[in-house]
Symmetry: C2
């Protein structure tokens, strides 16, 4: 079988071939309305225009209003069958063999936009944001730094995907600048805390799952059905103020250290597009309790990178190469665990994986780990610059891609720049 | 000056005299639309009907659509001046001296509903729910139980209002039944965790502040302005699964132990109605950092009670009498602290105070404290029943009231019943 191709030209290194078709919310220009599109090559295909032009055939899409919204929630709530149907129809309409749009210039003008000209918005109205702590390497690294090698993993860590509730109001789309936070910090030798700018500002390399299908309060999702509730994935930068976190987090967890901003990539890559890249998750020992047991290939081979670009640099320098497949607890285990209490998830809820660190020193997913708590200097390559934590005006660029034989399925970039703190 | 009175009859022990006028969202019947009303005596006054009948005079209310919504968010976002104007107009329209509605039977039929006949809904679309830990007595009690008297308060506790992010999707309105959660628990002597129904189910007596006026991301709210961002207060029961919490909560805080449900009362009592009951907050030593310093009367004398009603009882038996005024960190300190990182708050965001315990044993705001970790038995009075934690089919009833010379400002009840767990 030959590889599916689109009449839209897609370069070999593009993240967005016809096999991907990630969903995003965009405005063609500041004064136009928000709507839903899919990325293909260097273009955005406006799905609301496809509806207006009556190009969808299936009954669930023909007259739909879900693509005229400024958020994916309504579409995501329709479930796996509709997601799959939409993908099929889009691949058919965009196929090199289908003349309907290919040979109709008027259609093309109404449907396609240059991807670098549109304004990308948050892909969903995020009701609740949950963050997990699911990478064994990350939890171990942080544990060693703060509690020593013997007590690195907490007793519960190998038994359940540790998670906590995050702040949804401050989740922002890639490209949004974030202000360095201020807050209370206290050095080990200080008698009392002081009010300061955060001095140990960090990124955390994560991915985020967007919930599509909801569950009712009091009705846990069995792990066998957990996958059907996830619409797709984004890249996620869980910005962290390490010095604020250290002082505030006992006993109830991180609060202000995390809630000044969380950046996600604008394009949601669907679970269906990722399926060819499914791989086995790490072996789990001890065997988890039955409600967390699953079989088959439950994670994905997604190559992740983080780069830093300072004001003096023209391009980001890569400082971390990791992979989703290193993560110990899978996305379906996270979702099943999240609901086992009866907690209800809604369309648009965001589940962060937690920092995804790999086994080698260059695969650690945070400055805290890469600089080993500030004890090492991280080189930013030819620029000659170095970092231990994030400085003002630094830009952090995350990227993710699945590399196939004939095409790649990519996430594009997740970009965030830190601007100076308020002056007091 | 004589006390303001309404032409609506209000008994002396009513929580809802014309001086209160708390806001709520209701439906007259299952098939009618949601709208906004205020409670007065045993009636609900439909504010959308007042608009439709053109009874509001001020320009900001005359043609407003905010009262035709199924949530208070839009009204709450309008800010203090409009809140105050609305209160004045309502007190005028409902006054015993104003014949406009008093003497118009047709108006009355369109405007008023029996309070026990309508369906009350959640008062707001809650974007984010934050829970604080602001009672010194509660934090001390829990600290003594888990860490001993010497280390009861964590080092940060006297310096900042400890808070964490909660789950907004499972915040439910009073009257909603909640299922006992299941999850992982591990006894101190067990080799591994097991999957169980929660055996140590608890309530937490709290109040919740609803944010009215938002702040932008990156723009902290100075403490001098914090009060203007809070629309009003509700009662809040932060249900807690103590055995699940104990195993899961290190190092990132409570998760499934709290996210199976949080109950709030349906009537939002405005800060303006509470103002006559403002009192000094407890003395703070050490003096907090400048961003948390305030002067004046910054808390309220609100008498709080918790009762339990078992299946065998016809009325709840009071097991706790506390007061908001015991709380160490004030609502404005909580809000100022929450935003000091730059975190944005939106209309409808809910800030829980944390368990409000008082100085005496009968004023502790949770079963954990009242039964001192299950070491004491709590009597449920004449029924002859006793409890250490909450049993299946028990109903927890919270109530709150400010007692004035001529009237009371009350919150009504916050009621929740626990139904049996899922069978596995």
């Amino acid at each position: 079988m030959s590889t599916l191709k689109s009449f839209i030209e897609v370069s070999a290194d593009s993240h967005f071939p016809i096999q991907n078709l990630p969903y995003g919310v965009f405005k063609p220009s500041e004064n136009e309305s928000s709507r839903i599109g899919v990325a293909i090559g260097n273009l955005v295909c406006d799905l609301s225009a496809l509806v207006d032009l009556k190009l969808f055939e299936s009954s669930s899409l023909k007259d739909t209003k879900v693509f005229h919204q400024g958020y994916l929630n309504d579409f995501m709530s329709l479930g796996k069958q509709v997601w799959s149907e939409t993908r099929k129809e889009l691949q058919k309409l965009l196929s090199s063999e289908n003349p309907t749009i290919r040979d109709n210039q008027q259609y093309k003008e109404k449907i396609f936009y240059q991807i670098d000209k549109v304004i990308m918005l948050l892909p969903a109205r995020i009701g609740d944001y949950t963050d997990f702590y699911a990478s064994k390497e990350h939890a171990t690294n942080v544990g060693i730094m703060f509690r020593g090698k013997e007590n690195a993993l907490m007793p519960n860590w190998l038994h359940l995907p540790v998670g906590y509730h995050g702040r949804s109001s401050s989740v922002v789309v890639s490209g949004t600048k974030l202000r360095r936070p201020c807050g209370q910090t206290k050095g080990d030798d200080d008698a009392a805390p002081t009010f300061n700018q955060c001095k140990l500002l960090d990124f955390e390399l994560e991915m985020g799952a967007l919930v599509g299908v909801p569950n009712n309060l009091g009705e846990p999702v069995p792990i066998s059905q957990a996958k059907d509730h996830i619409f797709g994935l984004v890249l996620l930068n869980d910005w962290s103020a390490r010095d604020i976190q250290k002082w505030e987090y006992v006993p109830l967890g991180p609060f202000l250290a995390k809630n000044f901003g969380t950046t996600i990539s604008p394009w949601v890559v669907t679970m269906e597009a990722l399926q060819p890249f499914a791989v086995d998750a790490p072996h789990q020992d001890p065997t988890p309790l039955p409600y967390l047991q699953e079989s088959g290939k439950n994670t994905f081979d997604i190559e992740l990178t983080v780069g830093i670009k300072t004001e003096k640099m023209s391009e980001a320098h890569t400082i971390c190469k990791s992979n989703l497949k290193y993560m110990y607890w899978t996305l379906s285990q996270q979702l099943a665990h999240h609901t086992i209490s009866g907690c209800n998830l809604n369309p648009g809820d965001l589940l962060g994986t937690g920092t995804i660190s790999g086994p080698t020193e260059d695969s650690f997913g945070s400055m805290l780990e890469l600089s080993w708590k500030g004890s090492k200097t991280i080189s930013l390559g030819e620029s000659g610059e170095t970092r231990k934590f994030i400085q003002d005006n630094d830009t952090v660029v995350m990227s993710g891609v699945c590399k196939g034989k004939d095409y790649q399925i990519g996430f594009g970039n997740c970009v965030g720049q830190i601007i100076p703190a308020h002056k007091y």
